[in-house]
Subunit: 412 residues, 2 copies
């Protein structure tokens, strides 16, 4: 494979995570050091930055400030949720991207995101091939949802899992402090896959976690749920529940949506929400004091509880994307392969076809969910435990986080 | 003062904090070591444990496990919210307490709590004096609300403040990641005093915090609020807001209650809540994407973000209570006095009359709130910054918290 010289673009897309910037840093640092890559450009708000010609010159950043990206949550370059059209139906955006690629002599495109972003990557790459513009395209995975196909796990998942497990352990302590008892219901992200809610079981495995955990991988039965909570509350005087926002009835309708329409007659779709509504139903059924707690954005930006393993792997994924592309590889997403060496967890890089990744969603295996559909098995704990290990040595200022402050100089 | 020999009781009361157990540990360790104190008893669920004769023998605990209390959130002995009658009107409970005190030869009573708990302490002490039973009573302060009279600050406040500030910094990063912008509204505890909501300004002082902060110390003006948010959202494309749950209209009615009654026609008082309802109003006014985030119990049990200063001072308060009582002092609450030595923060112990503490509430000084009533001044930052300093070396197991597991053996 002959050397391909030119600029690279790194873009970030979709919902951010605690460690997506660690992956971006891996790309940026590896690209800045690589002699084949003549210039490193950061796209503002993902593909929109390319379409709008708003590209940051990453070489303008102070390397020490840049290095703080490893510990800075959310997407430092700005994220986009723009969906690209099918190029066979409408190639306007693709022509524009080609124009920008030519303008800056972009020969490497790295896109840091989830399912949809891999689809974007894939479409762009196929278009460039069709029009005969040489450009190597690599996907760098991220998603707290852990639902990308073909990889053992996804960068970002473990840090969110660690945040959720730690928070569940703390709420467990707090919610059973009174003589009168309490039911606490924790709502966790995850619309279609229950990986995040599953991580609450780490707290249970450590002696202070939810009694009940509900994932969208199985159908939700409201009567069974209320009866489960009532039973445990009567037995123990307390009950801690973790629910995925994506729990749904057998007909596929989300419980969250049913709750909203059932309890608000004013057409305010965002009011109420799953946790407070379940809390209200449980209160009526059990007579207990009940708290609904939504972990909301906190769970995906809680970088202070990031897993060092996750940070290191996320960085490694970014570096691997650059190294692979420079060596001649294109149209792949960087993935992870788990190897157990003498019982010790090792994470290796593997490369997956963008086409496969773009159209598949990985759910929690049903055999990792208990028979009653309200908890996780040891197999899941064994899977997730190595991923959350290690505390990052995060930089602080006045005992508060010191996040990266980028200059964001637009490329000329 | 002649030596008083006898058993001691330590009880915990009211809403827990991340560090109330550090204070309890201070009492327990100091009492176990002290030759005047013959036995150390822990009351289960505060004063209820005394009334119900459910007292733990703290000497039965493994010292190493006990030491983990320093890093274990919530009230390890169990908290109570039982309100004692006025002994002049009904002395049933007081007679029962006297009976238990005599049964175990209790000569020292340490009560770890907030305003109400200091009132309980005070009533018990006055009753014992009236009936001529010698018992020294000391209050050990705790409250995330920071509203105890006469002390520079309260154990528990700084750790909650640090949790709130860190979470605000992270949400700030997350909530301004898209090209389309967002308004995020963070609801923070504090029914009557705005100390906790004020701590969100630490995030702003560190470059990534709320644009607007509303405390219950000033009257809330909904129209002004919506106009403030709209202006900032139009200017910056994003807006982050911190509100105290206790914000109220000029007539004293809580905005949270008005919201609940206005939006829910089903009589479900817990549904909706302040943050989602404000979010809904802001959405209607600005057209922005809006998120309401309630920090809920997380902010008072987030021990993983505890301030080392807070932990150390909380422990010190417990030790000081024992030392004071043994030296002959009674009817006091341990408080803190701030001294600046060569510009360096030093925290000294001072003792406050229980009678004074029991009936007074300390609010945020109005001069620490900006003129517009939507932010804090530098004087508040200078006040709070020393309190949140230092990271505890918290024990971990599998990269998750390792909390104390007490045996809780009932005293015979």
């Amino acid at each position: 494979m002959s050397e391909l010289k030119g600029a690279c673009i790194i873009g970030q897309s979709g919902g951010p995570t605690s460690v997506i910037n660690a992956s971006a840093l891996g790309v940026i640092e590896a690209a800045l050091e690589n002699s084949s890559i003549t210039r490193v450009l950061g796209a503002e708000h993902g593909i929109l930055g390319v379409l709008n010609d708003r590209l940051f010159d990453m070489a303008e950043e102070d390397p020490e400030e840049l290095a703080l990206l490893k510990y800075t949550p959310s997407s430092a370059l700005g994220a986009g949720r723009y969906t690209m059209a099918d190029p066979d139906l409408n190639d306007t955006d693709y022509k524009r991207i080609l124009e920008i690629f030519k303008k800056y002599d972009v020969r490497y495109f790295f896109y840091n995101g989830g399912n949809d972003s891999m689809d974007t990557c894939n479409k762009i790459s196929k278009y460039m091939q069709k029009v005969g513009y040489e450009c190597r395209v690599m996907g760098v995975p991220k998603t707290i949802d852990n639902d990308l196909y073909g990889t053992d796990h996804c960068p970002g998942y473990a840090s969110a899992a660690k945040y959720i497990a730690t928070s569940c352990m703390e709420v467990y302590q707090d919610s059973r402090v009174y003589d009168t008892g309490m039911v606490a219901i924790i709502e966790i992200m995850g619309r279609h896959a229950g990986w995040l809610a599953a991580s609450a079981s780490l707290a249970s495995a450590h002696g202070c976690g939810p009694d009940l955990i509900y994932l969208p991988e199985t159908d939700f039965d409201m009567e069974q749920f209320l009866s489960d909570v009532d039973r445990i509350y009567k037995e123990k005087g307390n009950c801690l529940v973790a629910v995925s926002e994506g729990i749904h009835y057998p007909d596929g309708s989300f419980v969250a949506e049913a709750c909203t329409s059932a309890t608000d007659g004013f057409g305010h779709a965002q009011l109420g929400g799953l946790a407070p509504t379940l809390a209200d139903l449980v209160k009526t059924r059990t007579g207990a004091k009940v708290r609904g707690i939504e972990l909301s954005l906190l769970q995906r930006c809680g970088a202070h509880l990031a897993s060092k393993t996750d940070i290191d792997e996320s960085y490694m994924a970014g570096v691997a994307a650059v190294q692979s592309a420079v060596s001649g590889i294109t149209d792949k997403m960087v993935g992870f392969e788990r190897i157990m060496e003498d019982g010790k967890y090792v994470c290796n890089i593997k490369l997956l076809d963008l086409t496969d990744v773009a159209n598949t969603e990985k759910k929690v295996p049903l055999e990792w969910i208990n028979e009653a559909g309200n908890g996780m098995t040891q197999a899941y704990i064994d899977y997730v435990l190595p991923l959350i290990q290690g505390e990052p040595d995060r930089p602080m200022s006045n005992s508060l986080p010191r996040f990266a402050q980028l200059k964001k100089v637009y490329a000329k």
